[in-house]
Amino acid sequence: MAYTPHTDPDRAAMLAAIGVADVDALFEDIPAAVRAAGWEMPAPLTEQELRAELSRLAGRNRIPDVTFLGYGAYRHLVPSVVGEVIGRAEFSTAYTPYQPEVSQGTLQSIYEFQSLICELTGMEVATASHYDGATATAEAALMACRLTRRDVVAVSTAAHPEVRRVLATYCSGPGIEVVEVPAELAAGASGQTDPSRVAELLGDQVACFVAQQPNAFGVLEPMRELGEAAHAVGAQFVAVVEPTSLAVLESPAGYDADIVAAEGQPLGIPIAFGGPWVGLMAASMSAVRQMPGRLVGATRDGAGRRGYVLTLQAREQHIRRERAASNICTNQALCALAATAYLTAVGPEGLREVAELGATQARHAAAALRSAGLAERRFSGPYLAEVAMTLPDAGRRHASLTERGIVAGALLERDYPELADTILLAATELTTDHDIARLVGALGDVA
């Protein structure tokens, strides 16, 4: 089926109207070197041939028997009810409806999502969601700049490197300076961000300090003290959190975070080649007008019945145009619905079990490697469900294990040159004792 919205006469009329010779002339500003020269598409296939070809390609995927890979993306059990709920035709759109009030069911699901995120974080108001955790973090930093009318953003290097790269990209347009506060990474150090270092480096032009809990190395940060260091210079404290950890850790509201951002993938969303995922953001009601993106509110209609609306839309791009709180966001309604279904299915008890099992198995893995004389903990700071381990010749052994179907976590040296021979192992409720035994056995074999 061809999709041809414009005929050749349509195009000719439009080009004539704007006085341009041909369509290529519209792309003159793009350097020739980065323009696509042509499309080398294979010949069309029949459905039968196409199925065979796709099966062949799918067969090239390598699915490990055992994996300890985390580092921002986490394998969790997704109860079947999640797929059942998001598979319903009524919900099958990634977007917030643009004639919203006729879609009461969708708005109610988003309102419940927002309520769950508020409950999880302890904050007063949550958005309808963002693209992913990294963009939610960048939006939180821009929001802090608007709230404080300042233009410097500070971030710990113990926040995930990919999150920091997205933050730098978002800040590059409006000319916001990004300052990094180095975490304590020396041999035998805590692996944390030192609040006294934050206090030294933050000046009175800093809009916010961004810290991640648990941080990129799985280490628990002294969030209260980091927040106090930010507040001492009038900066906002942006907490980037892992949502399942909130079942056992102090809530961001408890340590006075001003804005909370998170990757919502662990809440019922498969890892699936990096996305689509869902960004979470929450803040206090006093900051609501500077929150980016969509917000669903509850109200009563003329007959006194409960109803849902998109609220505070005057902040948004379709009304406020270039002065909107954000022009680079939408919500991820379907993934947010998956998170809502997941949290509702597991409940507070289930979520606590998820967090506790991850923490337990991470300790088992660290202890087993240590008692086998294979690896030592890299950092002294407390950790939750991910642990950084040092072992000789880590790169080669990691590669050998991958060949055997075992992914021995992430090699941190790729992003942190000072962390050579260090692997980051993640555990979840899906990590079995048998997985740990396979890891230990295989690492011993390739010593």
Binding site: R149, R289, A314, R315, I319, R320, R323
Partner: protein, 125 residues
């Protein structure tokens, strides 16, 4: 629509009342009527420096969000604290209790770029 004779007016529908070196700033009743029910006013910070015709805050109604443009340059000495809880004062008493900010005037010659009540009435007729 008539407007107080002792004020000066800008094309952006702000008014200014001069009292010595202090200028009190608000939006006109015409602007408030056009915006409809006003639900939120984002005020400048005390100490902030305004420049004539530059944006210094935001007024949000049920219909739209609009920037506030300073009719004169100067340093903000006071903002109307009542607007935090009663933004509707802009609708009910635009030239009185609905004032927005007071600034220390930096250049009285700027007043020449503003209109008197008659000229403003003509603009909005």
């Amino acid at each position: 629509m008539s407007h107080p004779g002792d004020l000066r007016y800008s094309k952006e529908h702000e008014w200014v009342r001069i009292d010595g070196s202090i200028a009190t700033i608000g939006i006109t009743s015409f602007a408030a009527d056009e915006l409809g029910d006003i639900v939120f006013v984002e005020l400048p910070e005390v100490g902030a420096t305004l420049s004539q015709f530059g944006s210094f805050g935001v007024v949000e109604s049920v219909k739209a969000v609009s920037d506030l443009y300073a009719p004169v340059s100067g340093s903000v000495t006071e903002v109307n604290p009542a607007l935090a809880d009663q933004p509707e004062l802009l609708n009910s008493d635009a030239y009185g209790d609905g004032w927005i900010a007071r600034v220390e005037l930096s250049d009285t010659a700027e007043l020449d770029a503003l209109m008197d009540a008659d000229a403003y009435a003509e603009l909005t007729a």
